[in-house]
Symmetry: C2
Subunit: 396 residues, 2 copies
């Protein structure tokens, strides 16, 4: 049958990263393409212990249907959790979501009509661009500096495009690893407030900080109900549980909840209860103390290998946290999409081509490297191989 798919999906392909994952499942390939937390940081034994107690004490409730808003104990413990970002949340301002990404989907569902515009830092999280396409919205890229989004360009584009939403990952951005300075956070808030633009503040990586000082969330300045703050437990506990939190004004939370009711009724209750107990039992800080050095060690391994093996003519970011290093070739002719297959074949090593992260999909001289899902030895070996390839490429 010749299916008449909807306008929103008929030309949409899978997002680049999830498609790349499939290509890379062969053994032997060193993948810097993912965004997985380091598997050695997943707290299997703790979760087993917690799950046994949940099912012993509260099994029938946890296996039954729950409310769309979320498992009430988790709503409470999440309000406590987000205090570390300077956020004052109450249950009416809080919604449990099925992973941080659902928060982006629900926000666009609640705000975006076909043709509506959003602003994103250029480059930005590719799933945000992908989700926006399913709502037939348009993403406009805003220039980015060392310390995050460029305020002059933001001011200009707020006027020029009347965007409904500004999407930002202020801590250790995906893909660049950059962090937005506190001064810029305040400036972003004031500018968006002035122009009636909602800020969607996505913070999946904030707790994975291995240098520098914590910066308060943009949401912590929010006296006007214009910021939707999303955080996820994927990088600090487990992504397989698909559990995150959105914090916004009660009116926005009610709309997100109606959207979620239609999407998946509620987040898996066992996942919610596991995250709740993990937080409530004070396990998160000792766990972070254990796992953050693992990320630091891997980032250092990649940074050192870049220094040793990468040629002049490629600029790399050096993040204070998170999972990613971003690279840009100075020479404009380099096309990281075109060389991708050849790179994988010749080096046994993969990255994500940069074009996926740009609003217009047309910047080809960049790439993203993930360091969390490889060993230091693999990182050394992989960066050496990539360095060799790129050195030759730039000599040609």
């Amino acid at each position: 049958m010749n299916y008449e798919f909807s306008d929103r999906l008929k030309n949409l392909q899978g997002n680049a990263i999830r498609e790349i994952f499939k290509l890379l499942s062969q053994p032997g390939v060193i993948s810097f393409a993912g965004g997985f937390p380091a598997k050695e940081t997943l707290p299997v034994a703790e979760i087993k212990d917690i799950t046994n107690r949940i099912l012993d004490e509260n099994g029938a409730e946890i296996l039954q249907y729950g409310g769309t808003e979320g498992y009430y104990p988790l709503i409470e413990s999440s309000c406590e959790y987000v205090k570390r970002d300077g956020i004052v949340a109450t249950p009416d301002k809080t919604l449990v979501i099925s992973g941080g990404q659902q928060g982006i989907d629900l926000t666009f569902k609640a705000f975006i009509n076909k043709g509506d515009r959003i602003l994103v830092e250029n480059p930005t999280y590719l799933a945000c661009l992908h989700i926006l396409k399913t709502y037939e919205g348009e993403a406009i890229g805003v220039d980015s500096d060392e310390d995050g989004i460029n305020i002059v360009d933001l001011a200009k584009k707020l006027v020029l495009y009347s965007p409904k939403i500004l999407y930002l990952v202020p801590n250790f951005s995906n893909p660049t690893g950059k962090t937005l300075s506190v001064e810029k956070r305040q400036a972003v808030y004031e500018l968006c407030k002035k122009h009636g633009c909602i800020i969607l503040e996505d913070n999946p990586y904030g707790e994975i900080r291995f240098s520098g000082n914590r910066v308060p969330a943009i949401k912590s300045f929010d006296r006007d109900g214009i910021v939707i703050y999303i955080t996820s437990f994927s990088k600090v506990i487990s992504p397989g549980l698909r559990t995150g939190i959105a914090v916004a004004s009660p009116e926005i939370i009610r709309k997100l909840t109606i959207g979620k009711q239609a999407a998946d009724v509620h987040t898996a209750s066992l996942s919610q209860a596991i995250v709740d107990r993990y937080l409530r039992e004070g396990r998160i800080d000792p766990h972070l103390k254990e796992i953050v050095p693992v990320y630091k060690m891997k980032k250092d391994a990649m940074h050192d290998a870049i220094g040793k093996y990468m040629p002049e003519g490629i600029r790399f970011t050096d993040p204070d946290g998170g999972l990613f290093i971003f690279a840009e070739f100075a020479r404009k002719g380099v096309n990281t999409d075109e060389i991708f297959k050849d790179v994988v074949e010749k080096t046994g090593c993969a990255y994500v081509p940069g074009s996926s992260f740009y609003a217009d999909g047309k910047t080809f001289n960049a790439l993203r490297l993930n360091y969390s899902n490889a060993t230091p030895a693999e990182i050394e070996k992989g960066i050496k191989a990539l360095g060799g390839y790129f050195t030759k490429l730039l000599e040609d």
Copy 2:
């Protein structure tokens, strides 16, 4: 701030049932309003045992990100599971979803543009109507007979409205409890095929059959790739796990997968692994043997109490399975929305007003009763109280 919500959500309220749930949380109220499985049927001990083995044997994989298509072992065991409905599924035709309802959402996401029409049996599952509103589609009701949707009216409306989708719950429909006969299933299939209309066959209750014989799924006739079959493990294992399965042509599954990637990346892996082992270890049939008599006993209790306490002038369905009895007042003036609050106050007992289940939302003389979530004593007490109220109402 004065939020500019999207057209799809700006006028949408929460679905009636989930709003009613909130009202009914006071202790002492006997609720026939839910659609929860009987809590005594939830296999807590088995799930605890299974979860321990999953985390011991496979913990890091299960806590890590997974593929959007689903946990591969569950895809395999689901292909085996749907054979009981006469369906031949292969992994490329199968998608794990976050509860059966997500299958409706993803189908509409893949097919429905603003203004597109779907056909539904009148009355139908209210979440289907609610989800459709989030895609700005239009639902057209088709008449219903004792044995399900009216074929003459269906044929007429396929021509009149050129619908993209026909949505049906062929086994123990929500809200009526009716089952579509095999002859009608074949007729529905042929008619929809002729008119190029996709059939969305939703089967959450099929395994909860306590009388009559199993009828093959419409999907079992599908040689043309026009049927999307959804089933859920909510009623046979646990709703809190939020896990179901969609089976459709590979081309449709690819589109649903792209939609799901944007929605929640993947279904919670621990939930998926629990369901997989439950199926793979052959636990489902012994479990059904235990739980189906519980539902039969409760349905019988409600049916008997209706015979004893309900006045003439209300017609009740008598289902062969599932969770619901549907009631219609012969007298047209009765408005089950208007009397709802008074009924709850005077009888301590709640139902779902029928209007929520009709495509036009304007049929007020009906109501839905759920029997799975009360004890036989509560059912007797509640129906007696409701019967008294309705007797008086019809005498006035």
